[in-house]
Amino acid sequence: MSEKYILRARRNDRIARWIITAGGVAIIATVILILVLIVEVTLPLFLPVGAEPLAEVSLPAQLRHEDVLLLDADEYMRDGLVLTRGGRCVFFDLKTGTVKHTENLAEDASRGEALACSRVGAQQYCMRWSSGLVTIVTPDFGLSEAENHGVAKPYAVEELQSIPASVEPGEIATSVARYTDEGLVTRVDLLANNTFRVAQRSVSTDLMGNESVEAYESLIDGLPGGVSAYTLDTQGEWLYAGTADGQLIRWDLGNLGSPKLVGAHKATEDNVPVTALEMVFGDVSVAVGTGSGKLTTWFPVRKTPEAVTKQLAPIHDLAPHDSAVTSILTSRRNKSLVSLGKDGSIHLDYPTSEQHLLSLSRAERVVKTGYTARGDGILALTEANRICVWRIDNPHPEISLSTLFGKVWYEGYDAPEYTWQSSASTDDFEPKISLVPLLYGSIKGTFYAMLYAIPLALFGAVYTSHFAQGRIRNVIKSTVETMAAIPSVVIGFLAALWLAPIIERYTVTFLLGIMIVPVLIVIFVMLIQPLRQRPFLKQVEQGFEFVLMVPVVLLACTLSYMLAGPLEALLFGGDLKQWLFESAGQRYDQRNCVVISFALGFAVIPIIFTIAEDALSNVPNSLKAASLALGASRWQTVWRVVLPSASPGIFAGIIIGFGRAVGETMIVLMATGNTPVLDMSIFNGMRTLSANIAVEIPEAPLGGTLYRVLFLSAVILLVFTSILNTMAELIRQRLRSKYGLNN
């Protein structure tokens, strides 16, 4: 029987060991898996831009590269098109180069031949004809029956605008044109005598459906230098011109018929000419390429805080070419831009993050490039009359470590800043994704919460474990347990809707109370020490001494309440908020750090208290007895024996509380106002990393930049807490070997 019993015991042992091992391994595996999954989502943020060569074909229809005015592709990277000098639009298969359709845009001979062509909007091209006419056209890529629900769609080119010249075609050097949905058509010609001729035609329709046309013409002459490049924004409101001696000039065309010079700036050193100008997506920045190969983006900023008007300034320096920049093409998705050097090198850059994303080149010199409107394809036409196509995988050009953690100069800002603003109502909005304000918010909130929670929790734990008597100890412990059980949403809700208004109303009282209460308590304790042996005080049961404190605390509160009014009048001219705003330039947020300190502190106190109390009560009674038997007072015993012995546990409690405060979401979400500001003031709110995830995740499209950045903040939170825990564990081990007990 005993033999059998032993065998059974052994078997049970083995099974138990397996189960326990399996459980442990499963937990570790799960944690690692979670980490891997999260990191995997964030990884594409930092992957280099991919350029996959898609095809290389000969120019269709025996065209030569000199004939090609413009290259583009459809949004599926299936068909390409070239606009030719002959005024034709040739659609061809990108993979094979076979011509699918050719459309003659010249209609009749009166238009002459096409001289130049540039991209205007997403897939619109502005063509200038030798007759002086300018047309804006858009291609329509055909679809087969299968592709288009059984109805074949033919290839076509639609003409959107046709703007005749009002001067002799021979006088025109180059032209560009823009039109808006509101019916404003703008055409700017650079005339042979280095003068701009601006023609604006505004068509407005009244309620009755009557059209009225107003046409304006104006000349801009006396230009400081020969214009070597110029461009218009998509609305035709701003005219930018670069000169052969390196100046960048800007005119405001908003006032129809009277263009206004806004500023001229030196854009290059050594009077190198400006060779390429293009508006970056969003119409705020202009990309400037020079004869020496420099590539910069400019946008208007207020140079000094007092300045009324904004002046163009060079903001971002991009990777230079080895030779003159001949053309710049921009994406209509984000601010990426493709530039072509005279030597045929193609660069893909992102201005905001100043990242050079990609360099492409061919054995034969590239003479023209195309950049799809979506920014997902680059086409290159070489001297050898061949077209190369790359599929570009560039989902997160705006993200780099320096944009996440460094200052970034965004359009519309007057200086580089740490900014978090992930979304806005407009399409051309650029997300601003600095994590610094969020990290700062997390640390700030945690700091103030711990400032309040640590002393309270530790004093409470010391009192409960070593001074309070049985009954009162049970009351405290169960109260704290209840505290821990309160859902954080309830705490956040109360803090935001109940506490915040009260604190707003009695700010000075609160601040005064924070100072007066502890001071009065200390004074009271010092006064009462000599009286301790008095019979009257002896009647107060040990562990109930706090009852004596009640009147003191009440007195302190009343005192702060009564002093608050006069003090506010004396120091802050009667209104703290006003004073703050006027003399310190600080706003007073209702949901501020004081509120968070209480609310988050309230959530953290039970954790610190419970762990610390545990550690303190686990200090063996024999140690306490040894100390007391040597004549140490209760306080000396706690301070010199109990606290050092419990320090590893207390420390663990604080760190775990800290981790909880950093990760706490609901309370900060509700009680902070969630403004991502960098401001140490206790009267401001904040936005924490964790709350940010909660706020933004519903709006973050799956796989998008924001989505991945939110995952990145999760990784940061995770890494932060694990570093914290590791650190805590290390320090704990050291403390334990120093003060700890054998077991």
Binding site: S622, A626, S627, A629, G631, P644
Partner: protein, 286 residues
Amino acid sequence: MTDPVTTEESHVTPQKPAGGVKATSERPKAKPAFDFEPKIRIENLSLYYGQTRALFDVDMSMPAGEITALIGPSGCGKSTLLRTLNRMNDIIPAVRVTGTVAIDDVDIYSKAVHVDLLRKRVGMVFQKPNPFPKSIFENVAFGLRIHGESNRNSIEETVEKSLQRAALWDEVKDRLRENAMSLSGGQQQRLCIARALAVGPEILLMDEPTSALDPRSTARIEDLLDELRSDYTIVIVTHNMQQASRVSDWTGFMYEGYLVEFGQTEKIFIAPEKKQTEDYITGRFG
């Protein structure tokens, strides 16, 4: 364990001149009338743990500069009685004490007595060695520091002296900075004695100081007690009859909260007056 008669070792019970003992009491409650100068005088002492009474009208005196042993079956109140002498019972909730405990004729339960100062005069060594998880040096210096001594030299001096008195100095003098937890059980207990001696007590209370130790360590501690004898008034609780007979001058036998018999050790062990005492000593006890 408590089998004193059959296993008498070579160790000889210290023969001490009995300083003119007159007579012993007849009843446990009767006031003993010895003609020594009592260092500690206990009169009519009763103690209650809440509703339970643990000591019944104990009357007893302990002579200065001698060792008094308290023996008795488990749960009879020896430790309780010992703890009344330095008021360690105060930290137990709901303890009530009536009667008098006087040290040098001053009632230690009177309002005028400061507990912390009382405990400085009345040191205590516990059953299980309980050094602080600090260095050996800091363990001994602890008492000095809490009583306000801050002079380094004088602390070092006292630590060395105390360790020497506790017969530990030679073993630890090269490792004073090491954690006291690294010492053996016997060394730890001697460290606790040194720690108690460092604050300069007049009385040493020992509650089964050797029950957790091996015979060698026990013998060392007993030798130590012998050396400390004349300088301190020692009260020791023990379950070891041999130990009581070996080290003590006086012995009190307690039973169920009563002090049954008290007298010179020789007398108690050789010719006890009470049947209960005799039964207990000879091991015939239940």
